[in-house]
Symmetry: C2
Subunit: 431 residues, 2 copies
């Protein structure tokens, strides 16, 4: 029998799914900071001490008392005695008294008594022999000519000016980037408490599906979805757990799906592509617990025969069997669930802006995802709009994973339109 | 002495660097396909066999001879005898002869004699008892009513329609995505020849710099750049090799830099932040071989005191000591070199489009990178331009890695402008 589905829009569908999923306390683990790229911070990180920990110069110049430069100019310079050079990486061994200054390098520690630094560019070194009081031998002295005034604190960092002690340096839910790794190192934070990767169980079903390691007989095909979905799950921050390939048999599937639901935080069942296999998936999901199936069929192309469910407070998704549809549906529904399980703060998705090369018709009410190849748009490369790419749709039967792998990304044709016109600006979601 | 640099634009600088670097034959290694996400394919991958390997149905329906449906319509349907159901995953045990059809599921193998499939939606099952010739007992027979014509090949995939034997399925230089992992699995390609990760040596210098594991004394700071650059190098597809922290001493640095240059494909030296440390780096790089320093100072903020060199056919980069500058300079110069070493095909960089909240002045001739925080733009969320974010610049002293970690990304103020205006559309390069 043909199957008639009541279809939700993708937006409605993901809202229902995320809303039904209870907020769950994530599990944490402690890992080395240098291995934490892309991981999500579980508990906010506080600064164990201020930064900088000592007053520092931000330029190469002379440490001095700002007041003594007031009024200094090129036509009326001031003069200060040079009392020494501040070594990098050590505390200065002298103070700055009235009438004196010291050579300091960027990052050097400000000596006691100094409250500002003048840049080298505004100074001249003046060397001259002075008769020394008391009739002793004359000794050489160095003065620094100051041709510019500096304000108190100028060209310096105060203690705690970058970060104060106990200040929150990383919020819970932050995904660790290069910047956070650097910040933690600056503070000596060598380990981080991160959210454990949620376990995402993946079951492949279908009498025709065999392992990629095997040689298919006529009528058989190799399992694609377990592996492409595993890669996508890892990319999103989850830990894929592959349960293998199972025949289209209710009891076998029910048993393994129950096991997977017990062990994992979410379960994906990639159904065979036939309507009967799809019905079987739906029955198996229903057997896993309440509230069960929330959405059966989504008004999206490709990916219509998608089942979204929550069983025993965990998301269970019946994925379309077609490899291309499965990846698109995973992007729409699996990734947001993983992000919720991780407690990750929302982050905008970067896109490539391009101009559509041809008209793309679509059906009103349905959201379409169309694969496109990006090409350099030589005509408007110098244009100030920054739109320097063309998006050329790849029209192929949706089963064709190889045709799709020519594509750079997907464009979304919103449900409220009947298509998009050649020349329109589109945002391309890179694979 | 103050240092006066002849400054190149970042675009000139990267062009000189990439142009001077010889094309080098990359090294390959063979790895498991399922571990290949993000790796770069070394040699083009050919299909060992066609896909599909057998003619398949793309719908649930009845396999038949297309000619026999010609002229069929709802008002004048045709009738075919149902001879059986084609099992999933096996070769059909019967042929389709004139006047007959067989139930087939999506992905099922087309039986001999059939050349098309009609969708279930255009059929009705008609069951009736027929008197059997020869006066034996009547037996039940099933006919399928066909209310729609199908063309030859309709709703089927021919052998090799997705990919032909020996067709290139992945080009050399492709970065492996979920799609390629799926494609390889479909073809039973379990291992891939990928480009070895180029080794990027990282040396930290500065008398004031200590290990993040140590507790700084007054005047000392922890090494940030080794670790944030290592994370960035890994992200770009390189293998970071940390040589540690060295004092500002020419002979020590020369020795370790020579060693690093021998062992690695590129060397990054993060200098102390002072002018003298910077000069020292320049001298050390000059001692490493010809042609030596190509660019000394780039007209970019932050990151001006950058040194680009090629020594013994390898890139050597003197990075600014400031952690924020170092990351920005690494994005501009280190990432493109890693991509060249990998032989990766060029790929557009995805961005988030946003509206600038305030005027950002800049100096003509200089390229500025300004950190921004993205905020939801509630006013134009429903706007069709798709610009639903505001970009709010974070103005902080450039040394402040913590202020920067509040930012979501960077915007580029091009050298040919004197700034950008509030309300202008900008492309945000996420960290």
């Amino acid at each position: 029998m043909p199957e008639f589905l009541k279809l939700s829009t993708p937006q409605e569908a993901i809202n229902i799914l995320l809303h039904t999923l209870q907020e769950r306390k994530p599990n944490f683990e402690t890992i080395s900071t240098i291995l934490a790229m892309g991981r999500v911070i579980g508990k906010k990180v506080l600064a164990p001490h201020p930064l900088p920990e000592f007053p520092r110069s931000t330029v190469d110049g002379y440490a001095l008392r700002a007041r003594e430069t007031f009024g200094a100019s090129e036509s009326l310079p001031g003069y200060l005695n040079l009392v020494g050079e501040i070594p990098m990486g050590a505390m200065p061994s002298f103070n700055i008294n009235l009438g004196s200054c010291a050579l300091i390098h960027t990052g050097g520690m400000l000596p006691q008594g100094a409250d500002a630094v003048i840049m080298l560019e505004y100074t001249q070194r003046v060397e001259h022999s002075l008769p020394v009081r008391g009739g002793l031998n004359g000794s050489s002295a160095v003065e620094i000519e100051i041709s510019h005034a500096v304000a108190e604190g100028e060209n310096t960092l105060r203690i705690g000016e970058d970060v104060k002690k106990d200040q929150v340096v990383i919020q819970a839910g932050t995904r660790i980037r290069t910047l956070e790794i650097g910040s933690c190192m600056a503070l000596g934070i060598l380990e981080l408490r991160v959210v454990k990767k949620p376990k995402i169980g993946i079951l492949s079903t279908g009498n025709e599906v065999i392992s990629p390691m095997a040689n298919p007989l006529p009528g058989q095909i190799r399992d694609v979805n377990s592996y492409s979905l595993a890669a996508l799950v890892s990319q999103a921050g989850g830990e894929p757990i592959l349960y293998g390939i199972f025949p289209d048999d209710f009891h076998t599937l029910e048993e393994i799906a129950k096991e997977a639901l017990k062990q994992c935080d979410m379960v994906l069942i990639t159904a065979g592509s036939s309507a009967s296999a799809h019905d079987l998936t739906s029955k198996v999901i229903t057997s896993l617990g309440t509230p069960g199936v929330l959405v059966h069929g989504v008004n999206v192309r490709p990916g219509k025969p998608t089942i979204l469910a929550v069983c025993q407070e965990k998301a269970v998704i019946g994925m379309p069997g077609n490899p291309v549809s499965a990846l698109i549906i995973a992007g729409l529904f699996v990734v947001p669930v993983i992000e919720k399980l991780l407690g990750a703060l929302p982050k905008p998705k970067p896109m490539v802006r391009a101009k559509l090369t041809v008209n793309v018709p679509s059906q009103a009410g349905r959201e379409d995802w169309v694969a496109v190849k990006l090409e350099a748009n030589k005509e408007i490369l110098a244009d100030h709009t920054g739109t320097s790419f063309l998006a050329r749709p790849i029209f192929a039967k949706s089963n064709f994973i190889f045709s799709l792998s020519l594509a750079d990304g997907l464009i979304r044709i919103p449900p409220e339109t009947t298509g998009m016109n050649a020349g329109e600006d589109v945002e391309v979601n890179l694979f």
